[in-house]
């Protein structure tokens, strides 16, 4: 296992961090308050090749391996304080691009991937429903084949990017009697007849990442819009979620490093009882814990990506990386608030926002409880 970066990888990582710090943070406090997505930031990231990182070159991407991909996303997360923007980019990559690459026909790939890589198009997926979250495959949305079309009916919640999306991967059951084996995936365009994006949902954190609900009322798509075979939804979603769990918190690792640096600087500068608060062992030990969490999170992130690049299935490792990094990120953000004292609670210091943003990581891509369930099962329990 060799985690040293080649000059090309190092250059890409540096470029991502520099661009992010210089161009993606301005006006963040106002955007956060208003819940505004930065289309400009999205496009800037795409220009740098972020969205297309792991998409093959022939389809408009960079064809990077998994380790390079998470390495670059880590530095994006370090430079970019707009965790919502980073989250939206990740949702687009893991829940739409990755399944398109693995399950798309040549025609589907040629049609969609170049625009999704260039930043011209925004995407996401719609799996969760009012009555099905963790138990995703019990979804109730149906897809009925009528000649050369499918007619979709149902509703979806928590759809990241929906209010700004051009294309969504919608999961529906073609044969509810077959339960999970009937779940199938459909590429649904924003202007598909019968599709309504009902509202922009307000969240605790990641407020610059738009989220919406979908209502599918006799929503018609052509048979060519089906991604993969009928009934392939479960296989496809597993593939998508394994990529997501292994990679989505790369930006979180970068954010943890940024938080740690902010906290070390604050602990050295803030004096109480006649000395820098970092000299108090109770404060220093929080910083040491933050450092330890950062390093273990990074090691898990890299190792999981490296294993993928070796051609291994990484179901257990991906769930473990997701579980550990999300829990570490939340705990470190809590410590960051504590280290900043009352100032940490004030919006001006931008630490409370980091905590609110981090909290979502315990929930999306499967809650921490679900990650533990998967890991336990794969441990043979």
């Amino acid at each position: 296992m060799d985690f040293s970066w080649t000059p090309e990888q190092a250059e890409l990582r540096a470029a991502a961090a520099e661009m992010a710090a210089a161009e993606l943070n301005e006006g963040l406090a106002e955007r956060e308050k208003a819940g505004t997505f930065s289309l400009e930031g999205w496009r800037r990231c795409a220009e740098l090749g972020i969205q297309g990182l792991c998409v093959p070159e022939e389809h408009g991407g960079a064809g990077a391996d998994a380790l390079t991909t998470v390495g670059v996303l880590e530095r994006l997360g370090y430079g970019c304080k707009d965790n919502g923007l980073v989250f939206s980019i990740n949702a687009h990559m893991w829940t739409l691009q990755v399944p398109l690459v693995a399950f798309g026909s040549e025609e589907q790939k040629r049609r969609w991937l170049p625009g999704l890589c260039s930043g011209a198009l925004i995407g996401g997926n719609a799996m969760s429903e009012p009555a099905s979250g963790s138990d995703a495959y019990s979804l109730q949305t149906t897809a009925v084949r009528r000649d050369d079309r499918y007619v979709l009916n149902g509703s979806k919640v928590f759809v990241t990017n929906a209010p700004v999306a051009d294309l969504l991967l919608v999961f529906a059951n073609v044969d509810p009697e077959r339960r999970p084996s009937g779940v199938s995936a459909f590429l649904v365009e924003r202007d598909a007849p019968g599709l309504t994006v009902t509202r922009q949902v307000e969240k605790m954190g990641l407020k610059t990442s738009p989220m919406g609900e979908l209502f599918l009322d006799d929503c018609e798509v052509s048979a060519e819009a089906r991604l993969g075979k009928e009934g392939a939804g479960q296989t496809l979603f597993t593939h998508s979620m394994t990529w997501e769990r292994s990679s989505i918190l790369a930006g979180g690792v970068g954010a943890m490093e940024r938080l740690l640096e902010t906290c070390v600087a604050y602990a050295k500068g803030r004096e109480q009882f006649g000395q820098a608060i970092g000299k108090f062992q109770l404060v220093a030990s929080k910083l040491v814990d933050m450092k330890a969490r950062l390093e273990t999170s990074r090691a898990l992130l890299y190792k999981t990506a490296w294993l993928r690049d070796q051609g291994r299935s990484i179901f257990l490792e991906a769930a473990l990386a997701k579980l550990e990094i999300s829990e570490a990120w939340v705990r470190s953000a809590q410590d960051a608030v504590a280290i900043h004292g009352g100032y940490g609670y004030m919006c001006e210091y931008e630490v409370e926002r980091e905590l609110r943003d981090a909290m979502g990581s315990r929930l999306y891509s499967g809650t921490s409880e679900i990650q533990r369930t998967i890991i336990a099962a794969l441990m043979g329990l």
Partner: protein
């Protein structure tokens, strides 16, 4: 080359011990449906794929982890055999 009978026996043993413990081994035939009968649910499929990759040093592609390739002991063994 591992003979098909050996692959089948190994797969059958794994399925019996992991997902059908206490069941009569004779009930699990090469053509008994596993996915469509709900014996292999989503997490069980992850376990099975991990087992196949480790046991036979093969790589199962994302699109192969489905009902067409994993529904019976026979299907699973054919998939493994095609990769050896």
């Amino acid at each position: 080359m591992v003979p098909k009978e050996q692959i089948q026996a190994s797969v059958k043993q794994f399925i019996l011990s992991e997902f059908l413990s206490g069941e009569d081994a004779d009930e699990l035939e090469p053509t008994t449906p596993l996915v469509s009968a709900g014996i292999l649910d989503s997490i069980a499929t992850l376990k099975l794929v991990t087992f196949l990759e480790e046991q036979f040093s093969v790589q199962i592609e994302a699109h192969e982890a489905d009902v067409d390739h994993l529904n019976t002991v026979e299907d699973i063994s054919n998939l493994v055999l095609s990769k050896l």
